[in-house]
Symmetry: C2
Subunit: 321 residues, 2 copies
């Protein structure tokens, strides 16, 4: 068993408290992508749920814990997907939820956070400033700070994707996982490393937001200056040491992809799979496009982890036919 | 229990032989559509599977039967979705599959039929001519003719969507079902009528392909001249009497929608739900758009039954942001 903060029994228990609407998501071979990508691609689709991303898995675990024995209020910093998910999970349980986001976050995501009944506070800065502000609110108000990737529930929720993957697919060669804060990568990575040890765990991050990938290669936390990517969901600058430690245990590699590959990945998913992926969710396909030889002929799984896009921006990315 | 050719026990048995990749599809409230449509909308999503439509449910039942005690070859006429699904189900079981389609069928669908290893025969005419040709092949070769909507397996497969719906949603007011040959409408309609008798079953067809809807209102088979709709999946001209008889039992209404509403429906599903729907799959949303007062404030379920679109045509339909 890999030595991380995660534990299979806890992940299995987490699965039980997640609303079924987020569980047992589609997982299927998308053969129309094979000739385009030169490998066999399976999609694990996390966009067909009330918040259009995988984040509901983690916030369900968080909210369940709060109802059992915590304050009945929580705050998180979010680029939009965690905030939507926490708002959804909190609303159903009568919790007060506050979401702190950058004023530059995707408008469509912020609209949904508000519509789900959360209090939204915007900061004039990037995601790291939103994290600081959320921590300050939690301290001042004495409410729960939900820290994506640091808080085990967020990793355990994401890890349930891994349980479903290894249960459904008898064998695969590679899983490609979007890398941001690290909850998805460490969660799924822990399960794959434990239960499908022959599979390679490759994390993918935009070259314009490379902090965690650089940290993984350096084996120590490396922070960066301002990020520059359309993949807002994975655009952090300050990796969390505990998460990096786990990632060092479970990941076989961490790679960076250019914006052009991310856009090409979104376009391929639309045209050959009929799927709307947000930029972060196209990172796996982008990694294949950027290094076809590495994946040629192999059995690849990628997690399409979110589909919250601004309609106008999305049309610009996927362009004319 | 409604008196149709269908039977709940048989539908439950059918469910057992369908590959899990087609079952337990996402079903969720899409709240972002509420303010736009003025009602509560739940989506049952049938596009996230290897053939991107619900048709795999029926062809799994057909193919299972053939393996047990039938010829190991089958032929069907198809606008593309049934053909893909039969090719998929047949390939996995070592069956020879022939698909007859109109030369004017959606190219992306025909490409997939070929890629899945089926023999594809094109006819110079519409879907009704393809049906005649498929029947002739079956007679000549002594192989199984799979007739969508007439063959009970196709209705029973589709009906399993209804089982999942009534199991997951405690109560709803209306289910909106795309109406073509009638397998989906009679299948789901039978289950809803049996197990959620308070819900209204409304079938939706394009005004440009109104044969079954006119037949339902006339209570007898009404055929039409050439169809004129982008919703290729539901563009028949000659309703099947047995299917009409079942539809008369299970449907509360059958309505026609204009092409503009179908296009607006596809666009809404893309922009507010992040879903790629083919025209047939947007018929439910189109029906709400065309008659908002009827649905105002109600709990509506619609089945997004397929997502096979030609990328170029699709971009034309959903247009710029």
């Amino acid at each position: 068993m890999p030595e991380t903060r995660l534990d299979l029994a806890r992940i299995q228990a987490a699965r039980q408290v997640i609303d079924p609407v987020f569980r047992d998501t589609p997982l299927y071979r998308c053969e129309a992508l094979d000739p385009v990508l030169g490998c066999s691609v399976r999609i694990k689709l996390e966009t067909a749920n009330p918040v259009r991303s995988f984040k509901g898995r983690g916030t369900e675990v968080v909210a369940d814990g709060l109802v059992r024995n915590g304050p009945r209020a929580a705050v998180c910093a979010s680029a939009g997907n965690l905030g939507q998910a926490l708002a959804w999970s909190g609303r159903g349980r009568g919790l007060d939820v506050t979401v702190v986001a950058s004023r530059h976050a995707t408008a469509a995501k912020l609209d949904r956070v508000r519509a789900l009944g959360a209090r939204l506070e915007l900061v004039d800065g990037d995601h790291e400033l939103a994290r600081e502000r959320a921590a300050a609110i939690a301290r001042h108000d004495g409410i729960r700070l939900v820290e994506d990737s640091l808080d085990l529930e967020t990793c355990e929720g994401a890890a349930t994707i891994g349980l479903e993957l290894v249960a459904a697919v008898p064998s695969f060669d590679v899983v490609l996982i979007a890398l941001g804060g690290g909850a998805l990568a460490t969660g799924v990575g822990h399960v794959v490393r434990s239960l499908a040890p022959g599979a390679e765990v490759i994390c993918v991050q935009p070259a314009g937001a490379p902090a965690m990938t650089r940290s993984w290669h350096a084996r120590r936390v490396v922070t960066t200056g301002p990020t520059n990517t359309i993949a807002d969901g994975v655009a952090g600058r300050r990796p969390i040491p505990e998460v990096l430690a786990d990632l060092l245990v479970v990941a076989d590699d961490a790679v960076l992809v250019e914006e052009a590959s991310i856009i090409a990945g979104m376009r391929l998913l639309l045209d050959h799979a009929g799927l709307v992926a947000e930029p972060s969710a196209a990172l796996g396909i982008a990694a294949i496009l950027a290094d076809r030889d590495r994946f040629a002929g192999r059995q690849v799984v990628t997690i399409v982890c979110g589909g919250n896009v601004d309609p106008h921006a999305y049309r610009g990315w996927v362009g004319p036919a």
